[in-house]
């Protein structure tokens, strides 16, 4: 979850998010390379008192400043495409979760089991927070998922466009009315993972968070079986 004065990404809790963080660091290295070159040339140009009024063309210079950016783009693009295809890979998910965005809460459905499990997830109001709960992040009902299990999440909306996002899992997908968006993720370790609606959807857009609870499969099974018809 986000911590005070945090500048970077949240700690990755899924393999995809780890890859995204590593790619971000790689792209930052390339950015530092380009910025060093550009800053140096800028300072040299500003401080240079020599002027060549007869300079008309330079084929070698043009070749260099065409090839160099192409090479830079190649080094950025190839890892990016790799992660893009990794994200879209479907790994035969064990559990399918359906998420519906409403104004202003999320509702979830688990339809893989003998009985259809549906519930709504509202933000815990600040006045009702317990001492171990986080303001604007905790919800009354959490999305319980077994960890180390491939999960498919089908996201849609009942009214306006919302967005289901959990940064530490590297997941974000728009909840669009009349459309199903699919995301797939796997959680590496048990714990609580928080997210917030990421598409402006009205007055309480900031007050419809997401809480994912990753637990052991045995506890998940007990949780499922605890739902009475």
């Amino acid at each position: 979850m986000p911590t005070w004065m945090a500048l970077g990404f949240q700690n990755a809790a899924s393999p995809l998010m780890e890859q995204l963080i590593f790619f971000h660091n790689h792209a930052l290295s390339i950015l530092i390379l380009v910025m060093t070159v550009v800053s140096f040339k800028l300072i040299k140009t500003i401080t240079n008192s020599n002027i060549n009024v007869q300079l008309l063309e330079s084929q070698s210079l043009e070749l260099f400043w065409t090839l160099a950016p192409a090479l830079v783009l190649l080094f950025i693009g190839l890892p990016s495409i790799r992660i893009l295809y990794l994200i879209d890979e479907v790994y035969n998910p064990d559990i399918t979760l359906k998420t519906i965005g409403h104004q202003w809460y999320w509702s979830y459905e688990y339809s893989d089991f003998t009985q259809n499990i549906e519930f709504e997830s509202f933000m815990v109001p600040s006045q009702e927070l317990k001492s171990n709960q986080f303001r604007l992040l905790d919800t009354d009902n959490r999305v319980v998922i077994p960890f180390n299990t491939q999960v498919r999440n089908l996201i849609s909306s009942a009214d306006v466009i919302h967005s289901w996002a959990v940064p530490s899992l590297g997941v974000k997908a728009d909840a669009i009315p009349g459309r199903l968006n699919q995301v797939s993720f796997l959680i590496n370790y048990p714990g609580l993972f928080y997210g917030q609606c990421s598409e402006i959807c009205g007055a309480n857009h900031s007050f419809m968070p997401i809480t994912v609870e990753a637990t052991y499969t045995e506890f998940f099974k007990k949780w499922i079986s605890s739902f009475k018809k």
Binding site: A12, E18, I21, F22, N25, H26, L28, S29, I32, L33, T36, V37, F40, K41, K44, N50, N52, L55, L61, F119, E120, F122, N132, D140, N141, R142, V144, F147, N188, Y189, P190, G191, L192, E213, T215, Y216, E218, F219, K222, W223, S226, F227
Partner: protein, 124 residues
């Protein structure tokens, strides 16, 4: 490169400070291909600077980040982590068993989930 040579001499000998006379002589600057040579020199310098900057970023930030993740999973115990969260009451759907037992993997299927319930809002 223009070399400026400065030579100061005393006209009336070393003791004569009033007759100070300074000669400035300059070597002939090479203007042909000047920008090109400057560019090549600057390119070498900037290549070195950029290499140092990228290597520094990799050594200081990128590689330690990957190592931190690798080290975390080497020593990570999910059972201990899960049990500590459960004992603190952070998980909504887990049964609190005997706190002296670190982790009872064999969950009793008949034991009810006392702390798990779906909350239904009755007021807004």
């Amino acid at each position: 490169m223009v070399w400026l040579k400065v030579r100061t001499e005393f006209v009336g000998g070393p003791s004569d400070t009033k007759g100070l006379h300074t000669n400035f002589t300059m070597s002939r600057p090479v203007m042909r291909g000047f920008i090109s040579t400057q560019f090549k020199k600057d390119s070498l310098i900037v290549t070195g600077l950029a290499t140092i900057a990228v290597i520094a970023h990799r050594v200081i930030s990128v590689d330690p980040a990957k190592q931190r993740y690798a080290d975390f999973y080497k020593t990570y115990d999910p059972k201990e982590h899960f049990e500590s969260m459960r004992q603190k009451g952070l998980l909504s759907c887990s049964v609190k068993k005997n706190p002296n037992i670190l982790f009872n993997y064999l969950v009793n299927a008949d034991e009810p989930l006392t702390s798990c319930s779906i909350h239904t809002r009755t007021s807004f």
